[in-house]
Symmetry: none
Subunit: 234 residues, 2 copies
């Protein structure tokens, strides 16, 4: 059963150690983004959604704590694990202060790290209850519930949407009446922008158009070379 891979942001300045760790994590089915310093780490963090951050404490320019604090300011929820050089009590305490979820002393056992990662990610998974209103949209006379993945026309029987259909329609709805760039959907939903994913997206646009036909006020327009626009005519 292919689960969605969990995404990890790894910030580690030692290139050897960083690469080894990255490879190890990737071998264990995580999608890893490796940043070589605090600056880069923060940039990458802002660009993407991660399920976990692993931060080295000792780094030039911007140490792990400072980075963690910045990350916490943007997002109070991502779990953070610190890698500390050795048992430095101050480090550990400071880490917890900025809201770390755990720490590991180098050198550490890789299997233990894996277990911690698993435990932490699972923990977060159970916490995530519901931010309901993020997931409900009105599109003309349709109701889209993108958490339960259905589309209902005027209180009729809900039409089940596939994950991709759902995500795409949701993105369009988020940009209602505005341009939803092709590239955006491809990078956010397909996580890759190439000929095939692009054609795949077109197929999904066709499906959505079919679903939305019952309300002739709602249409998905193409903006050649740019993307699509979900419009609701009054």
């Amino acid at each position: 059963m292919e689960e969605q891979k969990k995404r990890i942001l790894l910030v580690e300045d030692d290139p050897n150690f960083g690469t080894v760790l990255k490879d190890y994590l990737m071998m264990n089915d995580y999608e890893v983004t490796h940043a070589k310093n605090g600056m880069e780490g923060f940039e990458k963090f802002k660009k993407d959604d991660f399920d976990l951050c692993i931060l080295d404490v000792m780094m030039p320019y911007k140490d792990g704590f400072t980075l963690a604090k910045e990350i916490r300011d943007k997002n109070t929820d991502v779990p953070i694990i610190f890698l500390t050089a050795k048992t430095m009590k101050e480090d550990v305490l400071r880490g917890y202060k900025v809201g770390a979820d755990d720490y590991l002393n180098k050198p550490f056992d890789s299997e233990v790290l894996l277990m911690k990662i698993k435990a932490i990610i699972q923990r977060k998974a159970t916490e995530t209850i519901s931010d309901s209103k993020q997931f409900e949209f009105k599109i003309g006379s349709f109701d889209l519930n993108s958490k339960l993945r259905f589309l209902r026309f005027k209180g009729g029987d809900p039409l089940k949407l596939s994950p991709k259909e759902n995500e795409l329609l949701r993105l369009l709805a988020l940009h209602e009446n505005d341009l939803m760039p092709r590239e955006l959907a491809l990078t956010k939903i397909w996580r890759d922008d190439n000929y095939f994913t692009s054609r795949s997206m077109d197929v999904y646009i066709a499906k959505l158009r079919k679903y939305l036909k019952p309300d002739e006020k709602v249409e998905i327009l193409n903006i050649h070379g740019e993307g699509f626009r979900l419009v609701v005519n009054s």
Copy 2:
């Protein structure tokens, strides 16, 4: 306002170390129950509600893991911290398997322990908001008593549920009409998310559907790749 003191169950066979640790925790405003071995630990656990369990791994008669497993069977939520004699990888891994939240190697720094305790208790506190003591549910014309593990249809003869059936139905009921993520059930009930546990869960879903058949208004819907939804149609 006087905060309710957090209750800790400390199971540690070394009388000296145990007493010192207990005193230290009490000095830091925790209410501590100290059990000298696994048996006693379990007895005390059953008698009271605790916010956290700290278990020594190495104990005569009943080691920390066995105890943890018993505790987990009774309560899937209490955080557990293990104290391991030294960095024994096997211990650590085994600990996580039975659902530990963390572990500490002896000798450890007491301040670090305090931080961990604080972090863990806080974590649970944010998780456990409304989800407190919900053990009785109305599901269409069924009554589920998940404390006694039975399901009754319109006041008829109660059907006895197995532990897993019960837990699963309870989770579904807690999320009635909403998505109950697969991952949630697997991590909370099966404590592991892999192909086999996932298939096992499907088997249980089939069983529950059979049990719920008498009321055709009640159904368990699948949301492909996400989880299940217990719906009660009006």
